[in-house]
């Protein structure tokens, strides 16, 4: 079992979700996060003082998938989330020992 974590631009969430749905991925979990990276935060003005916001709002997507599927799903997310502009984000994959569905207690692939 693999856990795919993707940091994407918030307004791309819907496209990512549709892409995953298209590949039969039944679920995902989204967190609103603040990102720091090459993309600079926007500049705001407060009564004559300009300042740069340090962080950029991003969405963090977590998807549990079967080992075999990880690669193509990562590719699908890259596809859906790309704008080509700086700040598109990262995707990383980690190994998962096991998964349980709380409702049924099912384990492993059946839990997804």
């Amino acid at each position: 079992m693999k856990l795919i974590t993707a940091i994407v631009k918030p307004f791309k969430i819907d496209e990512v979700r549709d892409a995953l749905k298209g590949m039969g991925v039944e679920g995902m979990t989204i967190t609103e996060v603040q990102g720091f990276g090459r993309q600079r935060g926007q500049t705001e003005v407060y009564r004559g003082a300009e300042y740069t916001v340090n962080f950029v709002p991003k969405a963090r997507v977590e998807v549990l998938v079967a080992d075999g599927e990880a690669e193509r799903i990562v590719d699908a997310i890259v596809e859906a989330a790309r704008t080509g502009k700086i700040g598109d984000g990262k995707i990383w994959v980690t190994d998962v020992d096991g998964v349980v569905r709380i409702r049924t207690g099912e384990k492993g692939a059946d839990a997804l």
Binding site: Q34, E44, Y46, E50, T52, N54
Partner: protein
């Protein structure tokens, strides 16, 4: 000429204050309904009307609306330009007005000029350049608002002369703004993602705050138009409230039948619809008439919203369904419900045994306002679009008006979000 009456003066002055307060009220009513990235854009479009239109009204607007008629009842002369020589010819709508200081009348009317274009902002939510709005706002208030105000509110205006009635602005304010909103969005186009994508209100409490302020201010918007503290003002105030209450009920009943729930936004919207519809009638109908007008407005305005989904125009916050349709309902129903025993300035409406003359005049007033405001607003919008452009870029629309138009963020609740370094 009669002396100044302190009671009438107090009433008109406090009425001017309450109508002023309606502008922030309207701003919050609308701002609560937009997404959190466009809150300031909406607030600013409304608040800035307080700035720009007020100044223009002093310099030019008032005299165009209430100056001596230039002939044909089409426009006022420049005799009051810069509010000079006001003592001489107040240019008020009747003798009663002579019991209040000219400046009280000027201030009260100024607030109408300010809030009318602000009503339009609900239709253009989330996508118009601030700069383009500033130009539209300023030009519209002089070229469209002032003439229509002259026609209807000035004793010299041609609709006033004809005997068309508008107690507090059914044609001048609501139909005028409503049709202008429709014209503007036809040029501006739809929000990206509409209607497939849901764009729920970011803060309904803010919208209900706006509703409360609007309701409060509307008492004096309508009853203040009596220009005195008297029986007509009392009836107008009661009618205003009763119509809003009834419209809230009827909107919610229809909504519950159609969608299965009575929503808070529905309650708020129904009340506003009732307030709009009673505006032209407030001082001319009796209490039962007000109930009837409210009942019709609540139900019809709700159904009118569905039009935009059919016809695919993105009247984002339903200015057309509430102000245009509501204004027409009120202006026309006045022909049926006008009650001479309430106000000597009107004959009886058809349902009270009067003849059709008033109804005909009301249709003429509605038609004239629709045509004049609709056409000029469309032309103005087109002109701005072709020159400086009306609409923000796709990226800016996606990012929101607040950061792109005003370099600000509406809310910073978290500990992290607000971290930043001063340049």
């Amino acid at each position: 000429m009669p002396d100044i009456d302190s009671g009438n003066t107090a009433w008109v002055l406090i009425s001017a204050a309450l109508v002023l307060f309606m502008v922030p009220g309207l701003a919050f009513f609308y701002a609560g309904m937009v997404r959190s990235k466009n809150v300031l854009g909406m607030l600013m479009q409304n608040f800035f009307s307080l700035g720009l239109v007020s100044v223009l009204w002093v310099l030019l607007g008032f005299t165009l609306a209430f100056g001596k008629d230039l002939g044909g009842g089409l426009l006022g002369a420049l005799d009051f330009i810069g509010l000079s020589k006001l003592a001489e010819v107040p240019g008020f709508t009747d003798d009663l007005a002579l019991t209040i200081p000219p400046m009280a009348f000027v201030a009260f009317q100024m607030m109408f000029a300010v809030i009318t274009p602000a009503l339009i902002t609900g239709a253009i939510a989330d996508r118009m350049k601030f700069g383009a709005w500033v130009v539209f706002l300023g030009v519209w208030s002089i070229v469209v608002y002032a003439p229509v105000a002259h026609w209807v509110f000035s004793p010299g205006g041609w609709l006033f002369q004809r005997g068309a009635l508008d107690f507090a602005g059914g044609t001048v304010v609501h139909i005028n703004a409503g049709i202008a909103a429709l014209a503007l969005i036809l040029v501006l186009g739809r929000r990206k993602g509409w209607p497939a994508e849901a764009m729920p209100p970011h803060s309904l409490p803010l919208t209900l705050l706006g509703t409360g302020i609007l309701w409060f201010g509307w008492f004096d918007f309508n009853a203040g138009s009596a220009l005195g503290a008297n029986g007509i003002a009392g009836q107008a105030l009661l009618n205003t409230h009763v119509a809003a209450a009834m419209a809230m009920c009827s909107w919610l009943v229809v909504e519950r039948m159609k969608d299965g729930k009575a929503t808070t936004l529905g309650g708020a919207s129904g009340a506003v619809a009732g307030l709009v519809a009673i505006t032209p009638c407030a001082g001319f109908v009796n209490t039962i008439g007000a109930l009837a007008i409210g009942a019709v407005a609540g139900a019809v305005c709700f159904l009118a919203i569905l039009l935009k989904y059919k016809l695919r125009y993105d009247d984002s916050l339903d200015v057309v369904a509430v102000h245009l349709v509501g204004g027409i309902i009120g202006s026309i129903l006045l022909g049926l419900f006008a009650d001479h025993s309430i106000n000597g300035a009107t004959g009886d409406g058809i349902l009270l045994g009067g003849n059709a003359e008033l109804l005909v005049n009301q249709f003429i007033a509605v038609g004239a306002t629709l045509a004049f405001s609709g056409i000029l607003s469309f032309v103005l919008a087109k002109a701005i679009d072709l020159t400086m452009g009306l609409r923000v870029t796709e990226d800016d629309e996606a990012q929101g008006l607040d950061t792109t138009q005003h370099a600000e963020t509406a809310y910073s609740f978290g500990d992290v979000r607000s971290l930043g370094r001063v340049a």
